[in-house]
Amino acid sequence: MKYLCIVYAEDRTFDAMSESELAALDEASLANDEELRRSGHLIVAQALQPVATATTVRVRNGRMSATDGPFAETTEQLGGFVFIEARDLNEAIEIAGRLPMAKIGSIEVRPVLDLVQTVQDRRAISDPPRP
């Protein structure tokens, strides 16, 4: 079962941290990624640049627009993600709880939606196999 651990944190949390605290956090995150890779849980992990660098893209009535800023202005911003393979939600929660970022931000754990299966199921219902 695949889960996306979405990391949220306030920008000002990082502003308040010293250079050495930030360095320690980065080291701890990388070390944790490595441990998850070795245990076979990690699919991919990625930190993101601050929301100040975000651009939001939409297509409406066939016209594309690109605007400055994130999709939603919230106090806690999307700061990165860790995509994992876990036995079930309990294991996913345990892994999320061990992410160093869980101590200063929040981790949203979301199960994936298997689109291939969804599409196959939908086709099977609309066109049942004949005996």
Partner: protein, 415 residues
């Protein structure tokens, strides 16, 4: 010769005693709540059909589990005509018939715990945890749950549907938590059980003073937890519920009016429940880790020990509230402590403590804080201030018996 009527009665009592265990095991074997619930119903329909004719099986529970599993495979096969994926599932279930050991009593106890912990999983909303526990573990109908929480059966049903869908989609496992997370997970379960009990013992609103069906289900659940997972706090919670429940008959007058602790006829307190509660309190207090439920139970035990209200050991009650405040600094506990202090040291001292909690304190919207303040003012002879505080309490009170009680006090102060 088989007595068909007697068998039917037996099936009824087996349903009451065993249907939740059968459900708990079938959820494990079938891996799906809805399928398991249908299977339980199917199994009992089959029992009603066959047992009066063929006689009772040697082990009714195992019979019901096997029948339920068989019926579920059947259902899946029928549905598989529309959904090929189900055919595979039906085949897998059919080929992997459970080992008889899988439905032995030890496993069955584990299944009941699995069901409780899954219903109280922290990934479900607190409302959903309560609704799921009352529905799946206690077997109460959505109508009864809705009445207990003053909401519509549709709302309750929707909460349950959403919770089950989250369990399925997010893969919340059907398991007893590991030792590492057991303390937090057990705490969540106890919180749900206590909430269910409180809603039955002292409904937060409505026309009746108690809902015995709901509080007795909470006690049943507490007993089950003590039996399966003995722990000082689990015993403390059961003791607390039993000692409160022992005063059930005395809390309401024949006219349905509220009777406060000092005015209750202690002869009507249930001595059996008290004895059971006191044994549990003693055992719980003797353990290394005394938690908030055990302390609250110890406070209830002080009252249970006093033959008349005047002989209550208020010094011990204050001491226990002090310990409780260390564990949980809640303003409601401070209020209760203030009332005990007033009983020990006089109304003036208590009044000073309560004044700090109401306007502009944290309990300004809490009717019992104003009622307690009013009671102390009344005892000090400050009639008009007492009336003001009772009126404020009346504005905030939400159950009819409480409102009538407060109105009566106001009327007494006028005369």
């Amino acid at each position: 010769m088989i007595d068909a009527d007697a068998t039917r009665d037996q099936i009824d009592s087996i349903y009451r005693a065993e249907s939740r265990s059968v459900l708990a095991t079938l959820i494990r074997l079938l891996g799906d709540f809805d399928l398991a619930e249908e299977a339980v119903q199917d199994a009992f329909v089959a029992a009603t059909d066959q047992w009066p004719r063929d006689g009772m099986p040697g082990n009714p529970r195992s019979w019901l589990i096997s029948a339920g599993r068989f019926k579920a495979v059947d259902r899946l096969r029928r549905r598989a005509r529309f959904d090929a994926a189900l055919d595979e599932l039906a085949m897998r279930l059919d080929q992997h018939a459970p080992d008889p050991a899988e439905i032995d009593p030890d496993h069955v106890d584990d299944d009941r715990l699995r069901l409780i912990f899954t219903c109280c999983h922290p990934a479900l909303s607190p409302d959903a945890q309560v609704a799921m526990t009352m529905r799946e573990v206690c077997g109460l109908t959505t109508e009864v749950i809705a009445r207990a929480f003053l909401t519509s059966p549709q709302t309750v049903a929707q909460r349950i549907v959403r919770a089950k869908s989250k369990i399925r989609i997010a893969h919340i496992p059907y398991e007893v938590p590991s030792r590492a997370v057991m303390p937090e997970r057990l705490e969540a379960v106890l919180r749900v059980v206590y909430l269910v009990f409180n809603e039955g013992y002292a409904p937060s609103s409505g026309t009746s003073l108690t809902r015995p069906d709901v509080s007795s289900e909470a006690i049943r659940l507490g007993r089950l937890l003590v039996e399966l997972l003995p722990d000082p706090e689990t015993e403390g919670l059961l003791a607390l519920m039993l000692l409160h429940e022992s005063r059930h008959a005395a809390r309401t007058s024949p006219e349905g009016e509220l009777v406060l602790l000092p005015d209750q006829d202690r002869a009507t307190w249930d001595r059996d429940l008290i004895a059971e509660g006191l044994t549990l309190v003693r055992r719980s207090l003797a353990s290394d880790e005394v938690g908030p439920y055990a302390i609250q139970a110890a406070i209830a035990a002080v009252h249970a020990d006093a033959p008349v209200a005047e002989s209550t050991d208020w010094g011990r009650v204050v001491g226990l509230y002090d310990r409780l405040l260390v564990a949980d600094r809640s303003p409601v506990i401070e209020l209760n402590r203030a009332v005990a202090v007033a009983m020990r040291d006089g109304p003036e001292v208590g009044l000073e403590l309560i004044d700090a909690l109401v306007a502009p304190g944290p309990l300004d919207e809490y009717h019992l804080a104003h009622a307690a303040k009013a009671d102390l003012l009344r005892r000090l002879g400050e009639t008009s201030a007492a009336r003001g505080a009772y009126e404020r309490a009346l504005d905030l009170a939400r159950t009819e018996p409480e409102r009538r009680f407060l109105a009566r006090r106001i009327a007494e102060l006028r005369s």
